[in-house]
Amino acid sequence: MAQTADRPSSMSTYAVAPASHLVDGREVTPAITRRELEEREIRAVRARRRRELITHNAARVAVFIAVLVGWHLLAARYDSNLLPGPLQTYAGLVRSWKLISAGAVATLVEIGLGFGLGVFGGLVLGSIIGVSKTMQGVLHPFLVLYQAVPKTGLAPMIVLILGFGILPKVVLAAMTAVFPVLENTIIGVQRVEEDSQRLFRVLGASPAQTYFKLRLINALPYIMTGLRGAIVLATVSVVVTEFVAGRIGLGAVMMTGYAQLDTPMVFGALLALTAIGLACYFTVCLIETLVLRWFNLELPAS
């Protein structure tokens, strides 16, 4: 540390403990070391981050409360069977809890099965199509058609064929969830670095080896993004099919309340549905994080 004031202080930094050096022929020790500067910076950054964390989350909570209060005030002007407020919604939830919880379980099962089936199908089909340029050429217009038409519109038809139980919901959910996984698998399997492909060819790798050791793993970030799209679509599809088919699931519960004009029940079921939707989505995000971390991959550039 610099001792006296008559020595010119210098802000030069050193990798190790400060050593004195010559300035204009006089010995000088620097006033501050690199390590101290580093620590100062780190402390400043940490403090700022803590501050931001508090302010941002406070703001978010404030927004939430504002919305809640606004909802309550708005609902107070209307009959609870037209627009129930937060309190009436909670009451409705509690009142119809048996119905809603049973519906929630059914919906969850349908989403899970439909999602799983759709992801599996998307992976297999995407792999087959992705490695074959011929198939891509042939199937291209059909894939565009599949993407363009909301498959949810098929709900009445599927319900007619498969009945009112769990099956039509699972099938339609799978049909909807397939596409994002399929599309992203195709993209990921193809978007491999030219040189990596050459490497595998020069080594004389078999198509299977190239697929499993290179293309599939390279496609993982894309597939994970596809999974997120798939879970969202599966959820939407299940809800709509339940609207159409009734009988099982939260969508059916909502339609029951809708028919009976028990709007608090409808809102309560919606709340449960929101929770389920969020839970499913974040589970998939968790899977994504774990898989990418295991393979030391990052998300594809947006």
Binding site: V63, T134, M255
Partner: protein, 283 residues
């Protein structure tokens, strides 16, 4: 591939020899690809129709009508179908417009403030995860059986992808161009109109394409729930009355409608991007 030995040919001869060969190869490959494509697609369409006919033979006609029966229903019920198409189309268009304007407008506003964007980000993520179509019954209760509830649902579903894409697009600015404008002393508004808007265009138009599909979905689902007017309502009604040929015929019309909407949106996207010489955003 290696023909007769080339003995002291001139350069022009060599060039022509290889060129002809390669051009012929390429033409042959292209022809083969075209044939394979045509053949493959015909096979798929034929297989589809074949499976359908087979299913129609297996299941009673009240569950699965044959393609022929569907066609006949299409022809005989053309009146009903024609009556129910305009409402659906109107809902889609209005919902799309409302959702787009709100989505882009709000997106532009939020993008101005980094703070607002950061605060609202978790809500955007949450809104993605929540099935907004579940609002259909509530909207019909609140807004009635008319056009409003359906347009609102369509707009709501179309709104979010556009909001997100607009915000992301406006943030995605080429840093060097930004620094250039700043060094010229451009105002925030000038930077917005001369730079940010154009950087955002690819994502915004991609968002518009998604919004078109979403608006279609929203209109259909709202009609499922309300069940009084429109192609979606027709689907549910014909399902309930087991008028299955009509159901299938409506499906055909609906598919055609949805596909047309999508094609229009895609065409618009391509034209707009082409006009400004921009590239489509990576998938």
């Amino acid at each position: 591939m290696a023909p007769e030995a080339l003995v002291h040919p001139s350069d022009a001869d060599l060039y022509r020899h290889f060129y002809d060969h390669e051009v012929r190869e390429q033409a042959r490959r292209r022809r083969r690809a075209r044939i394979v494509n045509l053949l493959g697609r015909s096979v798929i369409v034929a297989a589809f129709l074949g499976l359908w006919t087979a299913a129609a033979a297996v299941y009673p006609p009240i569950i699965v009508p044959s393609p022929l029966a569907t066609w006949r229903a299409l022809v005989t019920e053309i009146g009903t179908l024609a009556q129910n198409t305009p409402p659906t189309l109107l809902e889609i268009v209005l919902g799309f417009l409302a959702g787009s304007v709100l989505g882009i407008g709000l997106g532009a506003l939020v993008a101005q403030s980094r703070w607002a964007e950061i605060v609202l980000r978790p809500y955007l993520v949450v809104s993605q995860a929540v099935p907004k179509v579940a609002l259909a019954p509530i909207l019909v209760i609140l807004l009635g059986y008319g056009l409003t509830s359906k347009v609102t649902l369509a707009a709501l579903i179309a709104f979010f992808p556009l909001l997100e894409n607009t915000i992301a697009g406006l943030r995605r600015v080429d840093l060097d161009s930004l620094r250039l404008l700043q060094s010229l002393g451009a105002t925030r508004w000038q930077i917005f109109t001369k730079l940010r808007v154009f950087c955002a265009l690819p994502l915004v138009f991609a968002g518009l394409r998604i919004a078109a599909v979403m608006a279609t979905l929203g209109a259909i689902v709202a009609e499922f729930v309300a069940g009084n007017r429109g192609l979606g309502a027709l689907l549910v009604v014909s399902m309930g009355t087991f008028s299955t040929p009509l159901l299938y015929a409506t499906m055909v019309v609906l598919t055609a409608l949805a596909f047309s909407v999508y094609l229009l949106a895609t065409w618009l996207e391509r034209k707009a991007l082409h006009r400004y010489n921009l590239a489509a955003p990576r998938a």
